[in-house]
Symmetry: C2
Subunit: 212 residues, 2 copies
Amino acid sequence: MPTEPLSRGRIVAAAIGLIEREGADAVSMRRIAADLGVGVMSLYNHVPSKDVLLNGVAEAVLSKIEFTDDPDAHWTDRVRMQARAFRQIAHHYPRSTMVVVSRQLHSAAGLLPVERALATLRSAGFGGADAVSILRMFIAYIVGSLLREVGVTPTFAPVHTRTIKADSVDATLFPEVGSLAPLLDECDHEAEFEFGLELLIQAMVAHSARSR
Amino acid sequence: MPTEPLSRGRIVAAAIGLIEREGADAVSMRRIAADLGVGVMSLYNHVPSKDVLLNGVAEAVLSKIEFTDDPDAHWTDRVRMQARAFRQIAHHYPRSTMVVVSRQLHSAAGLLPVERALATLRSAGFGGADAVSILRMFIAYIVGSLLREVGVTPTFAPVHTRTIKADSVDATLFPEVGSLAPLLDECDHEAEFEFGLELLIQAMVAHSARSR
DNA sequence: ACCTGAACACCGTTCAAGT
DNA sequence: ACCTGAACACCGTTCAAGT
């Protein structure tokens, strides 16, 4: 039975599948080739190196973000929706998120979200420089939030590992950490993300009012 | 000449040096051993695996943050200083920053900065839950900012590579990106960090006033 | 044009042997 | 207690050979 022919897309998809199944450390050209049922060197007919293959993984994951933009909504709501859409990759591709975040993409893969964000900010009345700086702040916040969210689960095994045990922290050296241990122990990722998102949006509103 | 005896500390220091000199990808147990003038397997007398060695690298870099806290300063100034101190690691250990950020530390290495931040926020009148959420938002923002700062220079070779060329962007598909290309092309990392930092701090002040 | 096995220069880590 | 070389099971990638 003649399977579907090898292609860059199939290789990238196999890599993403492998990452999600076994983690980024499990990715090797040989494993991917084995998963696809081909010889290792066949991959190199479609991809020049492992490094650019991983760039392809990052681009593919980024391009799968589902942006549903409503141009009629208030700009603060549009910003909210776009930020949440970005966060979805941490849910759909948790183990690939680290790959996305740790690669500098010089391609146009991430350009569509940037375009939409800038358009939204400009429509809200922000100047070009402010729009770019605000976008960068937002991206930093989202990326950092995703890292916390997926970094906490490098493997899904220890589903409830307490990072800080109240009784193990020297209460004289770290009194605040000690007394807040119950709060530090648990992290509702969605709630934390929304908390920061609202603060950021309100900061933007205030900044907009100041510079008006 | 009997060189200093091998130790976990010397091994971690050698790893950090290697990372800063040649990048995180260059790190291998064999290279570290060679740099230290010992056999590979000697390392395993002091470090159980490469994985926990890299955790040691992350902890060592984190512990080198220089926090100069002034308890008499206004809490917003203290938050500013702490955030800037954190950002210093991107300057002192640029290539190690990715290692720090990509490892989940279950140790007490990062506890001192957390303690100081929480103490500052509580002294500003924030409740425990708010203090924890605000700290998490700040850490997300700082981590994301550091990633942008060091991710842009995986190697220092292309000192001025333009990521987006104005004429290469389809102006009809990406009009905003096209018109803002000059701004997107350059990034004053310190200025961008400070921009977001001020917005975050003002958001905190507003949040504090609201919940007072 | 696409596939491939052999080969090269690497990895992390186990183990048994040394002192 | 600390060091170590040999060995094992892996890597990414080059190259020459196939179709």
